[in-house]
Symmetry: C2
Subunit: 326 residues, 2 copies
């Protein structure tokens, strides 16, 4: 049993707190993807909910905790999905939510954060600049800073996906997990290593934003100077030490994939699975595309973790079927 910061009893309890609309997401074989990928592929679909990503599993826990304590305010830094989820969870519980984001964040995500009633503050610079500003607001105003991956609720919320995987009737060999700050990977990984240790946990990160992957391989925190990827949801530069410690206990591997493979993965999910996904959600397919031999004949589950994309950017990346057949 992995001695992470996470606790399986709390993860089980979390399902009583999280709005059921975020639980029990679809898990299904997608045979149309298989000829091209050379392995059996199941999709765990985290986009068919009010915020179109898995993040609300965690923010439901955070918001519930705050509301229970009578703390009416929270702030977070977000590339968009955490902010949208915290706004949704906070609104339902009467919380006053501030989201700090890079002004280069995905427009569709920023619009949804505003529409959900949160205060949105934009900063110049990247996600790390937003993290600094959010921390400053929390310090000055004395309000709760919600830190993705560091805060145990964000990991244990994501871990409920792991419970759904191990409880399913499907048996599989490998779970491919998008790696950014590490909440999803440590959450799902914790449950898998405890309940189904034979299942391989493979984390996938963009080559252009490799901080946590380098850290996992080096067994020590490695920061990077930049994060250059279209996968905004996983574009951090400074891994959190406690999260790395957990990741070292639960991940079997961490791999990096090229931007072109992420785009190819998005295209395949569109053409063969009928799914519009954001770049982070295509990392698993990208990993198979880059190393078919490794996964040949195995049964992989890929967690399709979000679908918040700007339609214009999506089109530029993926093109059209007409472009591809031309």
């Amino acid at each position: 049993m992995p001695q992470t910061r996470l606790d399986t009893a709390r993860i089980l309890d979390a399902r009583q707190v999280i709005d059921p609309v975020f639980l029990g997401s679809p898990l299904y074989r997608c045979e149309a993807l298989e000829p091209a990928l050379g392995c059996a592929v199941s999709i765990k679909l985290e986009t068919a909910n009010p915020v179109r990503s898995f993040k609300a599993r965690g923010t439901e826990l955070v918001a519930s905790l705050l509301a229970g304590r009578g703390e009416p305010r929270a702030v977070c830094a977000s590339a968009g999905n955490l902010g949208q989820a915290l706004a949704w969870s906070g609104r339902g519980r009467g919380l006053d939510v501030t989201v700090v984001a890079s002004r280069f964040a995905t427009v569709a995500k920023l619009e949804r954060i505003r529409a959900l009633g949160a205060r949105l503050e934009l900063v110049d610079g990247d996600h790390e600049a937003a993290r600094e500003r959010a921390a400053e607001i929390a310090r000055c105003d004395g309000i709760r800073l919600v830190e993705d991956s560091l805060d145990i609720e964000t990991c244990e919320g994501a871990a409920t996906i792991g419970l759904e995987l191990v409880e399913s009737a499907t048996s599989f060999d490998t779970v491919l997990i998008a790696l950014g700050g590490g909440a999803l990977a440590t959450g799902v990984g914790h449950v898998l290593k405890e309940r189904a240790p034979e299942v391989e946990v493979v984390c996938v990160q963009p080559l252009g934003a490799p901080a946590m992957t380098h850290s996992w391989h080096g067994r020590r925190v490695v920061s990077t100077d930049s994060a250059e990827t279209i996968a905004d949801g996983v574009a951090g530069r400074h891994p959190v030490p406690a999260v790395l410690d957990d990741l070292l206990l639960v991940a079997d591997d961490a791999v990096l994939v090229r931007e072109a493979s992420i785009v190819a993965g998005m295209r395949m999910l569109l053409d063969h699975a009928g799914l519009v996904v954001e770049p982070s959600a295509a990392l698993g397919v990208a990993a198979v595309l880059e190393d078919r031999d490794r996964f040949a004949g195995r049964h992989v589950v890929t967690i399709v973790c979000g679908s918040n994309v700007d339609p214009g950017a999506y089109h530029r990346w993926v093109g059209t079927a007409a472009d591809r057949t031309a």
Copy 2:
């Protein structure tokens, strides 16, 4: 309680027979659609499963019945979704499945039917020609003809969606249901009228394939000479009398929508909900677009019933975000 051919006890039992991968599909508010539609909108998503449509809820019942009786063969006519679903359900139970389809059917659907191991026979002419040929095969070979909407299993399978709607914590005013042969409408309508009679059941059909809608308004079977619509899933011309009788008991209204509205609905579901859908699945949104006043301020559920589209055709219909903002 509506005296249809359907039986609620059997529908409840059906959930023990249908593979769980097809049950408990997502039901969620999609606020991003609401400003444009002027009403609260929830989506019941029937595309996140191995056959990308609701049809397997019915074919699971049919295939299970046949397997239980030791009948090893079945044939159906299909525009694609029923065939794909019957192929999937039959394969899992060792049945020999033949699907007859128009050679003008959606290529993506035909490819999936073949990939699932069914025998595919193409006929010239439209879906009604396929129905005739399937009946002939059944007669000559003495095998079970699976008739969509006429066969009670196809209706009661679809009706399990109705159970999920009435069991949800969400309350809503109207359910918008794609109308073709009537299995989905009579199935869901039966459960709603029995368990939540205050909820309005509105069927939506393309103006170019209006046979069942004309029949419902005229209270007698009205056939049409042609069916001209991109919504291949609902393009029948000869309503089945027994299905019309049921529909008269459970539908509050049946409306027709233009092709341009169906396309606009597909675009909205792509841009605001991140969903690729086939034309039939956009009928509900199309109905709201054509009569915003009617639905203003109400909470509608639209059943997104399928996502099997040819990527090329989809692109021709929907265009790109770049086209739309240009």
